[in-house]
Symmetry: C2
Subunit: 277 residues, 2 copies
């Protein structure tokens, strides 16, 4: 089944302690859509300006990413520039220009409204809500949001608190420390894939969400906690590839074989009771 | 088999954002020994002053902790006082008085020198080395050290680097984010047990090391990576109980049934492929 992805599409400049690159494809929807596309067809919703490279549309097409929902308007594409700290764990925004994103009002093409799986990638909650308002009974909605939602210092309490606000499941992404999943009296924890060299952490969380939602859309009819465990591992696998190169470069050339292999490694690195072959 | 534990024995004052308690049993060896004692007999090496409560010796005895190696000397016991930040993730030492610990030179009783398993809990590396020098071919030595050993920002690189320095296996404790284990082309990652309320993080890492080493001493002849996976989970289980109350209070009343139950929960929260019952 298809996955609808809405979020930002941007042109980034990224500086790490080692390198700096500009004019990179970025934005939460770009990462999420490509991450998801390994598992299911994607319907992309976003906005770009007239400076946006046509080649990206070609690339999306080659990845079964439907771009009917991407508005092309006069003006410049959303631009973001950021710089990472020495350990890559924090970053500072150096400049931000919303440009055409400032007045973005997502309008779903008629054919998108019946999509069963939805990923509201990281954008303003009002835009996320506006997308949901246009949809006809989606089966499963994943909303990416910020950690400021609760004032809790304990992640376990935060997870439970967000569940009390409504969602049936809550996933907390912890970057290099992995991720947590909360359900009804159920809990799942996974580490991040161990990488020696991280080149650019940008978009890792978006790719995680995309991989997770894409796996569900492509493989599951009625989502259970057990499905979500696997989906979270696939999200982690995709995110681990994402940070191996700047922007989406690593994901552009990624194969399903590589994904499957890293998934198996994940299994080996998490098991402590079942026979480890 | 027995486990020899050497480290500090202290009397602590601990302040969290919620509570403050003084005259608590503390020190790396106190936590490690009690954590280990659930799995194997322990031989404790340390030093206390003449103000140290006799009742603790009784308690150790009741837990199969041999205290022949604990020197009682004139003067005051090592005292430490610390205060935790609002989120309990960092702490500041408010005062420290080494007292009898200042001139501590561990001397192993003759009966200790043949112990197969050794845990060098967190104390000065020179003291750790001095203990090893007195031992007759221990089978397996666990050394607890500080994170400053490498200048690496990546934990994966740090783990590999420390292995290059000599040890066959390296475990990295990440507190609320779990732990990592590095072997020869093998890797294991586990989360921490999810707790809603943490009362006092003091000693969690020492208890982790104690539980891990104690499990190995009590259950394994020749340590393999597979054994270490399980040992690390038992370490995590013990540490999760440790932080539920101040000082060693929770561990004092802990039962093997509670440990076994939490170990099973760990299994459920880490599996994503094998059938989850």
């Amino acid at each position: 089944m298809s996955l609808l992805v809405v979020g930002s599409i941007a042109i980034d400049t990224v500086k790490t302690p080692v390198e700096e690159h500009s004019d990179l494809l970025g934005g939460s929807a770009s990462y999420a859509a490509l991450g998801a596309s390994f598992f299911s067809p994607v319907r992309l919703v976003g906005v770009v300006g007239d400076d946006f490279p046509e080649s990206e549309f070609q690339f999306w097409k080659s990845h079964k990413i439907d771009t009917k929902g991407v508005q092309r308007v006069n003006g410049k594409t959303f631009r973001w520039s950021g710089e990472y700290s020495w350990d890559l764990n924090t970053r500072e925004t150096r400049s931000i220009a919303l440009n055409v994103f400032e007045n973005f009002k997502p309008v779903l093409p008629e054919t998108y409204r019946q999509t069963d799986f939805v990923l509201l990638a990281n954008i303003a909650p009002s835009l996320q809500a506006h997308v949901l308002d246009q949809m006809k009974r989606p089966r499963f909605v994943v909303a990416d949001t910020t950690r400021e939602m609760t004032k809790e210092t304990s992640l376990v309490k935060a997870g439970r608190r967000i569940r009390e606000m409504g969602p049936r499941y809550v996933a907390i992404k912890k970057g290099e420390h992995g991720a947590l999943l909360f359900g009804d009296n159920e809990f799942f924890s996974c580490g991040a894939y161990p990488l020696e060299d991280i080149h650019d952490p940008t978009g890792a969380g978006d790719t995680f969400a995309g991989g997770m939602a894409g796996y569900l859309a492509g493989n599951v009819k009625k989502v259970t906690f057990t499905d979500l465990r696997k989906a979270m591992i696939y999200g982690s696998v995709l995110a681990s590839f994402c940070v191996e190169a700047f922007s989406l470069e690593r994901l552009r050339n990624l194969s399903m074989e590589e994904i499957a292999k890293r998934y198996e490694t994940f299994k080996l690195m998490s098991q402590f009771e079942v026979p480890v072959s």
